[in-house]
């Protein structure tokens, strides 16, 4: 049976964000082991047993499912999530921070007067069983620990790549698969104006956006590597290793890279196997976006740059000297 005070995870609006949802379920499941709370997952759409099983494999104890075959927009989904919260009174709700679900989260926070922490980088449960959210504060370069007050419900949104997806092997396959069919009263969904919006014209974007999360090696340009010659070298090296070139906020602000390639608090979170920061100083707002990289290499002429404290390998040298050396090395390898 479903108990109150559970951890509710809200599924992304479409299948494309399932990986992201599963990362959050894995984190919720970790918290549930510690607190003995159940992990609920709210999903709307078409019935898909394989998909649901993937969710339960990551640690969802129960799936609350609203079968709705038409397209679902922000308003309809918010109505569904509100209904689920009213019915099951969870203690915390976690949302994937996709563009549409972020709006859903904000709407729910107004509805229930519940605190909402945006872009959490960690969630912990203290000895009093109270949940705390961590987030990078932009204005003063610190990590803030945030707690919900004056409300029985606290909520947070989580960016993609913030937590690692984990799957648990189940001893008994049938035991843990629980699904509740939720019947939404369609009269409740009065706010569907957004969803019935008229699309009057489509215009395809010329270039397909590269997803920086698909690369296992990432080269990051910082303000210390903004010269065009330096950038050209970075691209040459990156190409040789099939790496993606991304940038810090400063570099995006200076129009060197497109916003889609920004890593950090106001950009994307990444977790590649290897991250190489070139001329990156390592403000907290950037570190939160790359801290889950498996191996961090930082190149900076300043030994006191904050990123040096966070790197597995900190190379104190001029970025250009480093790049020249690595390109030379590449040539000698290729001629072998």
């Amino acid at each position: 049976m479903i108990s109150n005070n559970s951890i509710l995870v809200v599924c992304g609006l479409n299948v494309n964000s399932d990986e992201h949802t599963m990362q959050i379920i894995s984190k919720a499941s970790e918290l549930s082991h510690q607190t003995k709370k159940q992990v609920l997952l709210a999903v709307a759409g078409n019935y898909d047993e394989l998909r649901f099983r993937a969710f339960t494999d990551c640690g969802a104890d129960c799936i609350i499912f609203w079968e709705y075959t038409k397209s679902i927009g922000i308003m309809k989904y918010s109505s569904f999530i509100s209904a689920v919260i009213r019915e099951y009174s969870p203690e915390i709700v976690l949302f994937p921070a996709t563009e549409s679900i972020k709006s859903v989260a904000a709407i729910i926070s107004s509805c229930f007067e519940a605190g909402l922490t945006a872009d959490c980088i960690d969630i912990i449960c203290d000895e009093d069983n109270k949940f705390h959210f961590y987030r990078a504060a932009v204005s003063n370069s610190v990590i803030a620990k945030i707690v919900g007050i004056n409300s029985s419900l606290s909520m947070g949104t989580v960016k993609e790549g913030e937590f690692k997806k984990k799957t648990y092997s189940k001893n008994d396959e049938n035991d843990n698969f629980q699904i509740m069919f939720y019947h939404m009263n369609t009269d409740e969904i009065d706010k569907d104006y957004l969803d019935d919006i008229v699309d009057i014209k489509y215009r395809e974007k010329v270039e397909e956006k590269t997803n920086i999360n698909n690369y296992s090696i990432v080269f990051c340009i910082g303000r210390g590597a903004e010269e065009s010659q330096t950038i050209e070298k970075i691209y040459r090296l990156a190409e040789a290793y099939n790496a993606c070139v991304v940038g810090t906020k400063a570099v995006i602000d200076d129009n060197i890279l497109d916003k889609a390639f920004q890593v950090g608090q106001s950009g994307k979170s990444i977790s590649p196997s290897i991250y190489i920061g070139l001329g990156v100083s390592g403000a907290n707002q950037h570190i939160v976006g790359m801290k889950n990289s498996q191996l961090i290499i930082a190149v900076n002429h300043d030994a006191d740059a904050p990123i040096m404290k966070y790197a597995d390998y900190a190379i104190i040298d001029d970025v250009n000297v480093f790049l020249d050396k690595m390109l030379d090395m590449l040539v000698s390898y290729q001629s072998e």
Binding site: S78, D119, A144, I149, Y193, D199, R203, P306, D312
Partner: protein, 262 residues
């Protein structure tokens, strides 16, 4: 405030000038217009000039008296009126409290058809206020809007980013739009425009004007609280190399090639 014309409201977040980095050219002011709102404000003013639509462009900010300079600038750029929501009991509001206060101000301003907010501020970065506000005043919500093409009393036509394509939409009013686009550099406004703006009145609304429940504002009304701050991230296991030697370059190249050393 009475108004025979329809109002279009742009909610402007005043952000600290120091956050704007090296592109700042107006350093004497403590606060600046959040870059997201700056861009849309400029576009709406241009649109207003072309379309000659009879609507009032009202800029609304919430903050201390020193954020008046932000509204003054908006007036100089071409906004019709400016409202500063300011009360000591509003300080420290989180998004739940902020959206409540803003909703009260919107209700106070009459005939508001259309509200535009930047999709986020460069200091708070939560991006929650537009949606939270739309829920409180029960307006439609259009998000990820990258361009407003036209509008009239009943509809708005806008471009919206939808994964990999831009889609042109037509939506009904009243609505809240969350606008995603930004510009860092300030608009240059003429001295004359600034002078004219200085003569205009900035309407101040405090807790009494808004007839507001103070227990739902500021720190008391917030649903989140910062319980602790940590200065930065550190990892102790790191290894430092002074200068890039052949040996180090070899070692790193091997790592990149997937040949791992033990």
């Amino acid at each position: 405030m009475e108004c025979t014309y329809a109002r279009l409201v742009i909610c402007i977040k005043p952000v600290k000038s120091s956050l704007m980095g090296k592109n700042s050219n107006n350093l004497e002011d403590e606060f600046r217009i959040n870059p997201y709102e700056l861009k849309i404000l400029k576009e709406i003013i241009a649109l207003k000039k072309i379309s000659k639509l009879p609507f009032i462009l009202t800029c609304v900010s919430m903050g201390t008296k020193s954020s008046e300079s932000v509204l003054r600038r908006a007036l100089a750029m071409g906004a019709d009126e400016a409202v500063l929501i300011s009360d000591s009991s509003f300080a420290g509001s989180d998004t739940v409290a902020t959206s409540y206060i803003l909703s009260k101000a919107i209700q106070k301003l009459e005939n508001v058809k259309f509200i535009i907010c930047g999709s986020r501020s460069i200091d708070g970065e939560t991006g929650q206020v537009p949606a939270a506000l739309s829920e409180r005043i029960r307006y439609a919500l259009y998000t990820e809007v990258t361009k407003i093409c036209s509008f009239n009393e009943n509809n708005v036509v806008f471009l919206k980013d939808d994964e990999n394509k831009k889609v042109l939409h037509k939506g009904e009013l009243p609505a809240v739009i969350s606008y995603n686009g930004f510009q860092i550099n300030d608009e240059t406004v003429s001295l004359m425009a600034l002078k004219r703006a200085k003569k205009k009145e900035i309407f101040i609304m405090d807790k009494d004007d808004l007839n507001i429940d103070v227990s739902r504002c500021g720190m008391t009304g917030s649903k989140t609280k910062v319980s602790e701050v940590r200065s930065s991230f550190t990892k102790i296991s790191g290894e430092q190399f002074f200068g890039i030697s052949d040996e180090t370059a070899h070692f790193l190249t091997d790592i990149l090639r997937g040949v791992h050393h033990d």
